[in-house]
């Protein structure tokens, strides 16, 4: 396993696209969060916004970058045929997937930390100017606040989980474009699907099954009782999706011809 890890790490750091995508993950997440914060106002006390969630809204953009990074850099060897070189050098296929997952997690986590810290900083700078002041019931964002820290840490994990989910799908689908389409469809279409059904029971079920709706409930800091799933239980839904994708992708990788 050490050799697989070392080889996959060498591959990733010698792929010029990886650095750009990781930078884009951090910058786009923070920039989108800042833009969302700049678009809302709080003219008086009790305007009812979840400022932490507003500041971290850019994660919904960042997840697309994390997915593209995972599919292109870690899973994109099928387009060139390099997967056959990889599996000739490292015939233990389970170890190859594990090493790719570990290296991908290892680079996504620091980028996600920067993305989240940048988002919170942007929110802290932008929100007071939009009326989110202590006088209106919105103290400045701070990681010293328990729920804010949980939302921040949860968002970092969310981005890493999306990357791993995408890796599993990439190995199941074996085509870059199809894999990116499948991941983005799963993340974004499942988020709006509950809005398209009338029946409230089905709405609730679909919401709870959606990896992005359920997963992003980890960002909530107000009205927790009103959420269909608690913050960590919601992230657990994404964990289940990720585990299923990795298990499915890993199984197919082991049994199929390369």
């Amino acid at each position: 396993m050490r050799r697989e890890l070392r080889a996959e790490w060498t591959k990733l750091r010698t792929e010029p696209g990886a650095g750009w995508l990781l930078t884009a993950l951090a910058v786009l997440t923070a920039a989108a969060g800042a833009a969302v914060c700049a678009s809302v106002t709080c003219p008086a006390a009790g305007c009812g916004h979840d400022t932490v969630r507003l500041a971290l809204a850019g994660v919904q953009v960042g997840q697309a970058v994390a997915a593209v990074l995972a599919v292109l850099v870690a899973g994109g060897e099928y387009g060139t045929g390099m997967i056959r070189t990889t599996l000739t050098a490292m015939p233990r296929r389970g170890a190859v997937l594990a090493a790719k997952g570990a290296v991908l997690t290892g680079v996504t986590l620091p980028a996600a930390v920067l993305a989240v810290l940048g988002s919170l900083l942007a929110g802290r700078l932008v929100l007071p100017g939009r009326g989110f002041t202590a006088a209106h019931g919105h103290p400045p964002l701070s990681l010293a606040d328990g729920p804010t820290l949980r939302a921040a840490a949860g968002s970092v994990l969310y981005l890493a989980l999306v990357a791993l989910l995408s890796l599993g799908i990439a190995f199941a689908v074996r085509d870059t474009a199809a894999a990116i389409g499948a991941v983005l469809g799963l993340l974004y279409a499942s988020a709006v699907l509950p809005l398209m059904v009338g029946d409230p029971d089905w709405q609730l079920v679909l919401w709870r099954l959606s990896p992005s709706n359920a997963g992003l409930s980890v960002q909530a800091t107000v009205n927790l009782d009103g959420l269909p799933l608690g913050p960590w239980a919601g992230l657990g839904v994404l964990v289940a999706w990720t585990a299923a994708a990795l298990a499915g992708g890993g199984l197919l990788l082991r049994v199929r011809d390369a």
């Binding site: 697989e4 060498t10 010698t14 045929g81 390099m82 070189t85």
Partner: protein
């Protein structure tokens, strides 16, 4: 058996000689949907010589190599390298060096970095990478993006990757593709010297002529099975049998005389014909009796290409006939 890496050097060398240097393919059968790609493919590659693996496109050469490397699983049969299934090897590139598809790399990575990750996957360092870059003559191009390489440079990079682990067994799929004449000469010499060092070298090609001066032994395949497995010298001798090259200034008269005794005569040049079915002495006798002038009668020496054409044509005809009978 002790793993080779822990054994003393002498024991390890011995183990290499005795058991590590063969490819054994036995009864491989593989179906892709409606196509039967391998139909009982069986042969053994022995060390110390270049074995050509020849057959028309679609004969099953690449599929066999993929099965040997554990990339594709055979429906039936077994493929062993050094007596073991490929997927059970630790650091497999130290046992088998393979070039399957020279384009199978990430175009944005430099050639040197491509070799570097491969080296790291086998516990090798950057020194070995620079050694193989020198060995294949990639030179300064190694630090450029592999996506910009010509096909010939990609072949050199692929061969560098195959040599990375200094393996006792080499398996190259169509390594001559895309090489310029200088590259062809280079690779012929390289393959010859690798075999002379005691390695088992299997080289596939769909053009027999590419292997004529390189391979000492050929495995000829057609439609997923072995058609011939023989020394090159024997194949040429078999194809040359009972054929006579005749040089004459009166081709028409010679053909009339020879056709009269049932010999098959084909025109090979303005004043040269190839006669088969009649031994050389009898040809001389007939021409003298008929008063036909000739300047040369010699036993015909077939080229490897001719031998190959004969073998594969038989395979195709046999298949066509048996296929027709089955229906």
């Amino acid at each position: 058996m002790a793993p080779p890496r822990d054994a003393p050097a002498a024991d390890r060398a011995l183990a290499c000689d005795v058991m590590e240097t063969t490819i054994e393919v036995a009864g491989l059968r593989k179906r892709y949907g409606p196509t039967l790609a391998l139909d009982g493919m069986t042969f053994t590659v022995t060390p110390g010589r270049v074995t050509g693996f020849v057959g028309p496109n679609g004969a099953g050469k690449s599929t066999t190599m993929r099965v040997v490397l554990g990339l594709d699983a055979a429906d039936e049969g077994a493929a062993l390298v050094g007596g073991r299934p490929y997927r059970s090897l630790r650091d497999p590139l130290r046992h088998v060096g393979a070039l399957l598809d020279a384009g199978a790399l990430q175009p944005s990575r430099t050639g040197r970095n491509h070799l570097l990750w491969l080296a790291h996957s086998q516990g090798l360092g950057v020194r070995r990478v620079d050694e193989v870059i020198d060995l294949v003559g990639l030179g300064p191009a190694a630090r450029r993006r592999a996506g910009g390489y010509s096909l010939g440079m990609r072949q050199r990079l692929g061969i560098a990757a195959a040599l990375l682990g200094d393996p006792p067994i080499l398996m190259l799929d169509e390594p001559f593709n895309g090489l310029d004449p200088e590259g062809m000469v280079w690779i012929r010499r390289l393959l010859g010297s690798l075999a002379a060092e005691g390695r088992a070298v299997l080289v596939s090609s769909h053009l027999m002529s590419e292997l004529e001066d390189t391979a000492g032994h050929v495995v000829v395949v057609g439609r997923g099975r072995v058609v011939a497995d023989a020394a090159v010298a024997d194949l040429i001798a078999a194809a040359s049998r009972d054929r006579v090259t005749l040089r004459t200034s009166d081709r028409a008269a010679a053909m009339t005389v020879l056709a009269g005794v049932g010999a098959a005569v084909t025109v090979s040049d303005r004043d040269t014909v190839t006669v088969s079915g009649v031994p050389a002495e009898r040809v001389v006798g007939l021409l003298n009796a008929g008063g036909v002038p000739f300047s040369e009668v010699a036993a015909h020496r077939a080229t490897l290409e001719e031998a190959y054409m004969e073998l594969t044509r038989d395979a195709v005809e046999f298949r066509a006939a048996s296929g027709g009978a089955a229906r």
